[in-house]
């Protein structure tokens, strides 16, 4: 959640900077230091996005989908089953988690592409208006994807907090 929150905060900054630098009527050439800063900024964002989805999918998600032992009546430590146990909360899993778990992966793909393109083209991106506009669309998409994942992550944690633990009871048969 920390990596995702950092990514979301960084994303709006990246959009503003990319627009200001390559799309606006600003004719001033960025300095080499500015160029390096944006390249490093986007590379760090890509790292944050990958850390967010990898830790989310391989550390947090197994806790979320842990299966309660037979006979368990208190499902508080088993968020997925807790949410599905009531029709009032089941949509948080069926809609929220099922969307969040996949759409979040759009963000690292999109921002990695954007980082590589800026790394390769730098100030020459101004010479390729269609390319830079398409890259900007992908960065917007990564913001939307991270926003959806962040929103449902926060709401799911509010309704059924994921606390983790030493023991993970696996869901048998590979069900979601």
């Amino acid at each position: 959640m920390g990596f995702g929150a950092l990514y979301l905060m960084a994303c709006s900054g990246a959009l503003v900077e990319l627009y200001r630098r390559y799309c606006s009527q600003n004719t001033a050439q960025p300095t080499a230091r500015d160029e390096t800063f944006l390249r490093v900024y986007l590379a760090v964002m890509a790292v944050l996005a990958w850390l967010a989805v990898i830790t989310g999918s391989y550390i947090i998600y197994p806790w979320y989908r842990a299966k309660p032992p037979a006979g368990t009546t208190d499902l508080a430590a088993f968020p997925r089953y807790f949410l599905l146990s009531s029709p009032h909360t089941s949509a948080w899993h069926n809609m929220g988690m099922e969307w969040k778990e996949y759409i979040a992966w759009i963000a690292p793909i999109a921002i990695t592409m954007a980082a590589v393109v800026v790394l390769q083209y730098g100030r020459r991106l101004k010479d390729h208006p269609q390319l830079r506009n398409t890259v900007l669309c992908f960065v917007w998409a990564s913001l939307v994807a991270a926003g959806v994942a962040g929103f449902f992550g926060a709401m799911l944690n509010k309704n059924a907090p994921v606390e983790g633990g030493d023991t993970i009871h696996l869901v048998e048969g590979g069900t979601k």
């Binding site: 999918s57 390319l131 992908f138």
Partner: protein, 111 residues
């Protein structure tokens, strides 16, 4: 996509086009694999690469593989070429939109 040899001294748009189209392909692959793993039991079992994470592990691993493979192939073909970017960008954005839509459960449930 029509391509022509790069004649300008500036960096040709081929490598940028390759990165953009590959990201579109990767996004679409994510949505497609998510739907397939949700609807087809054999694919759901096959994508269960890591049991604690379930099918999500296989869906995302396959997505990353498809994305990087597409990027490598397109990069090899377009790296030093000037590509007609309009169709490439449009296809990439359509694939991105489809990928996002296919991850949306109410739409994925229509299949």
């Amino acid at each position: 996509m029509n391509t022509t040899a790069a004649t300008t001294t500036s960096l040709p748009n081929g490598r940028g086009a390759a990165a953009v189209l590959a990201a579109g392909i990767g996004s679409f692959a994510l949505g497609l694999f998510a739907v397939l793993a949700d609807k087809i039991p054999s694919i759901k079992n096959w994508t269960n690469f890591y049991n604690p994470t379930g099918p999500l592990s296989g869906v995302t691993t396959c997505t990353v593989f498809v994305w990087l493979a597409a990027w490598a192939i397109l990069q090899m073909r377009w790296r030093n070429r000037e590509v007609r970017f309009g169709p490439v960008g449009t296809v990439a954005l359509v694939l991105l939109a489809l990928g996002i839509l296919l991850t949306f459960p109410p739409l994925a449930d229509l299949f």
